[in-house]
Symmetry: C2
Subunit: 275 residues, 2 copies
């Protein structure tokens, strides 16, 4: 690449870093790519670092030494996250979303990358300090949410499957009682999908009694996993019944779902962990 001016080079460096978030890029690679000295790249990075303190949308992490480099950590400012969850809660609080059987239609939001991206950043902000090695979810609706969280954290994702007809080599299955259906179901994970002893973050779309989450935690014990966190997009408030899982984070709460009068009330939860 031909030599470019400082401002342009800083933009190009920023683009390179953001195109591979959470990936350590050696300074020599950047120096070579832009045809300048390593010290020049260092100066650029200092200025970029300072800029990001103002925007709050992410930060640079520099690792010194021979194996060192710089990586971009994407973040969401707390006030932006709050505003986003408020709007999301409002969009979900609509009688139009009521389905027969007392379900709330959420797929238009759960599968939209523009909604998912901030949600992934909020979950990542909540659990980054727990240093998860992997994000685990169960098919199907929670997969997109788990993937954007994994991407924001820079770790891979693992999907637990329903049933036990899974062609993934040796598998481990357990039975569990889904809190909502009260039926005994089976979930399965391939031995190969998760090495023993990993730090695991569980992400799912919805929690009612917590039966599915508890099943996942029990299945993960077979992989000697250390469950460092459980995050769900929405939980339903249960009047008298305690949840089967005690330690979890939810971003939204379903307060009311009245099929007869067509009333739905969803409220954002406290996310002061981002402050």
């Amino acid at each position: 690449m031909k030599k470019i001016k400082r401002a342009e080079r800083m933009v190009a460096v920023m683009q390179a870093l953001m195109s591979e978030p959470n990936t350590l890029i050696p300074l020599t690679v950047l120096a070579e790519r832009f045809g300048v000295a390593k010290s020049t790249i260092s100066e650029d990075l200092l200025a970029i670092k300072e800029t990001m303190l103002y925007t709050g949308q992410g930060r640079l992490e520099t690792v010194s030494g021979a194996a060192g480099g710089v990586r971009y950590i994407p973040e969401i400012p707390a006030d932006e996250a709050r505003g986003f969850l408020e709007i999301l809660a409002e969009r979900l609080s609509s009688g139009d979303r009521l389905l027969a059987g007392g379900f709330l239609y959420m797929l238009d939001l759960l599968y939209d990358p523009k909604i998912l991206r901030p949600l992934g950043l909020i979950f990542a902000g909540a659990f980054r300090e727990e240093n998860p090695d992997v994000v685990v979810t169960i098919e199907t609706k929670g997969i997109p949410l788990a993937l954007v969280t994994a991407e924001a954290l820079g770790v891979p994702m693992v999907i637990i499957r329903h049933g036990n007809k899974v062609t993934e080599g040796t598998t481990v299955s357990i039975n569990y009682v889904s809190g909502s259906s009260k039926r005994i179901q089976t979930m399965t994970l391939g031995r190969r999908a998760l090495e023993p002893g990993k730090r695991v973050l569980i992400i799912d779309d919805f929690m009612k009694a917590g039966g599915t989450a508890l099943g996942m935690i029990n299945l993960l014990k077979e992989f000697e996993a250390d469950v460092v966190g459980v995050g769900v997009l929405m939980e339903i408030r249960l009047e008298d019944e305690p949840k089967l899982v005690s330690d979890y984070l939810s971003l939204l709460q379903l307060r009311e779902l009245d099929l007869v009068n067509g009333i739905v009330q969803v409220v954002p939860q406290d996310i002061s962990f981002l402050d």
Copy 2:
């Protein structure tokens, strides 16, 4: 935000654009955020635009007029894409990946955001000119691939479910014969998930005979959808049997899978559409 110097502001503008890819951001919003005149932001954007011609990792699209603004379109340079697919093919060409029943273990790659991101950009580069409104896939393994493609294109994703026990309101189901299993199966999509008359891009992880893809195309006819493209990560070369779907794009081809001798050969396909 306090006033910052030009280079720093350009970095901040770049970060704002890349944090919301494919989203039109009005120039007035950027001008206000950084406390400068709209004409100053225009000049910044011109310089950023030029920088991106060098990097090839994305481009700026400006829309003029009252409802105008600027959006960041993420892209992958053709040579980078080729190098990436070559490495991916090599990683897949390993006897260790053979599973009983003649399956190839791919989940460690299919669920890794750092592998998925370039794949999404390649699919987006292949189909962007077809202007899809939505990316459609079928659960489960193709979901992450479909999501990153949808994100790279800036459109939502829709997931077709297996079976017909789906609680998503009114649903449409069809039976299809999966080419690999030769069994009759059912796939289902909620009426609410896809408005009639949309331009649809189908993305899946694997194509053998094409029975699943054909089933999806047939199901989508019930939604008056216009299927503008079919993209699969890997296809298997079939000796004498023609595929059930003729017009599709595959990024990798499985040439050989020899369970007895432990040989797997995967090769990258031609991606000259990116040049």
